[in-house]
Amino acid sequence: MRNAFADELTRLGDKDPRIVMLSGDIGNRLFDKFKARHPSRFFNCGVAEANMMGVAAGMAMNGLRPVAYTITPFVTTRCLEQIRTDVCYHEAPVTIVAVGAGLSYSGLGPTHHSCEDISFLRSIPNMVVICPGDAFEVRAALRAAMQQDHPVYIRMGKKGEPVVHAGSIENFQIGKAITVSDGTDVCLLSTGNMLPEAIEAARKLGGQGISAQVVSFHTVKPLDQACLKDAFGRFKLVATIEEHSLIGGFGAAVSEWLADTRTGNQNFMRFGTPDAFFKQSGEQEYAREALGLTGHQIAEKIIHALH
């Protein structure tokens, strides 16, 4: 996702002189092309995220379209008040792009995990929260964000994730989920970098004669209510899947929607990280397995729930 982001940003920067790239001293060589083409519109803001976010807001308040980028916890929780007050209160069209969602950087240790950011950012008025499911969704989300006059948060995984979509997504819309594969029994609503696990879960379920629909629910705020209405009206079981805490994340947002719309549903499951720090050493695959978040583990739990 990371390289797709840098490449798409460079393309967009060629066309739109309002686009400015702010990096928190990260992405060595990643932005070389952007820097070469737009030297006056690239700023390494150093390891000073609070300032970076304030600078981005100041630029956006004066007609530019800044993109503020670094590792997920540093570009969200580290400077949360600047996001809330400088960016969101002023409705400043800053696009915050985070790399390393959830446990993408599990191996880097606890400071680099991020399982709370969706919760924090979606509670702030005026903020849009997008968690792309693959590199093509990253590109589409970035293009869509640059057309907004409001703050947008794009929560990316890392680099080298499986690509799900066949090619460029031309009809991408913020707040409009994408059905990746059709099914009739179970609906898997996946957000962000868990999309490949959701696809794997659907494959396992299929092997057991359970037809699962897979949806890339890339926008957590605003929710695609039509998609939810359809899913809860049509399937035996609906599951949300995310690499984020069950508190305040995507599944929590859907729970709120269920409560607020008085949509009764017994067959709703949520997959996400628990209310606990992940304290072991280990890469993302290990961490997912340890937390029951791999495709086959999700499938097993769903099979169990259906019986």
């Binding site: 006056s40 700023f43 000073a48 600078v55 807001a57 630029m59 007609g63 530019l64 600047q82 400088d86």
Partner: protein, 282 residues
């Protein structure tokens, strides 16, 4: 006035500015009394800086508050909102009568200033340490778009406790933002204690200089000197400018000066009369 034309350096009429400052202080005291609102002493402390900025230095036109070429003045010490509101009303951004709605339900004049509601308020401030990063972003946007406006940010001395101030200070120096000017209202007090006994600020001017700024100390109640220094930004040094303005908290009213109780206290009707008399207003 056409703000598209760079404002020339002009002779400072210190006498006229002083008279304005006395009027401004009177207004602030009235507002504090009517609303029984805190931060009176903080507002009085920076009144002369505001008068120098709004009546001599800034390239602004109250009739076109959103002009992209206007100079930006950010009240980073948002708790001095009463002073900013009074200045903006006196300069004609909105009717002077609206000052009577300060802190009133349903009004636009909250105790800390909201942006997007009132013309002339550049940013919502009140949480400290936000104004300078915002100002740096504004200054860079000007550079990118080829607009030559200047950015002034008024910080409190207590605000220098915030790490984001120093992040921004290093950033502005690295980017050579010589069209940015910080004025620190150095009244030696913060909300509940002497500033140097809270987090050591001294030597504050040396600190700003060490962070890469063209920093100098100035008498924060010498309106003529303030106007003179501020109107010369950018000053040819190639660096952002920091004016460490030595001030007296509660300046202008003898029984408020350097008495930190007035950080939170609001005056009684009797005290308002006494204060006005001292300011030569009655």
């Amino acid at each position: 006035m056409n703000v598209a034309v760079r404002k020339p350096v002009t002779q400072v009429d210190a006498g006229a500015l002083k008279a304005r400052a006395a009027q401004l202080r009177g207004k602030i005291i009235d507002m504090s009394h009517a609303a029984q609102a805190a931060h009176l002493a903080s507002s009085l402390s920076c009144a002369d800086v505001l008068v120098a900025a709004y009546w001599h230095v800034l390239n602004i036109d109250p009739q076109t508050p959103d002009d992209p070429l206007r100079d930006r003045f950010i009240l980073s010490k948002g708790h001095a909102a009463a002073a900013l509101y009074a200045v903006l009303a006196m300069r004609g951004y909105f009717p002077i009568e609206e000052l009577d709605t300060f802190c009133k339900d349903g009004g636009r004049l909250a105790e800390h200033p909201p942006a997007n509601l009132l013309p002339g308020v550049e940013a919502a401030t009140g949480s400290l340490g936000h104004g300078l990063p915002l100002g740096c972003g504004m200054a860079l946007s000007g550079r990118i778009k080829g607009e030559t406006f200047r950015v002034f940010a008024l910080l409190s001395d207590g605000e220098n406790n915030e790490g984001s101030v120093w992040e921004a200070a290093m950033f502005a120096a690295a980017q050579k933002l010589d069209n940015v000017c910080v004025v620190v209202d150095y009244n030696k007090w913060q909300a509940t204690a002497r500033s140097d006994e809270t987090l050591m600020l001294a030597p504050l001017c040396d600190k700003w200089a060490a962070f890469g700024w063209d920093a100098r100390e100035i008498d924060g109640h010498d309106i003529g000197a303030l106007a003179e220094a501020m109107q010369r930004v950018p000053n040819g040094s190639g660096k952002p400018v920091a004016l460490i303005a030595h001030t007296i908290k509660g300046k202008g009213v003898s029984f408020m000066e350097d008495d930190n109780n007035w950080h939170y206290r609001a005056p009684t009707a009797e005290e308002v009369v006494k204060a006005h008399k001292e300011l030569g207003l009655s």
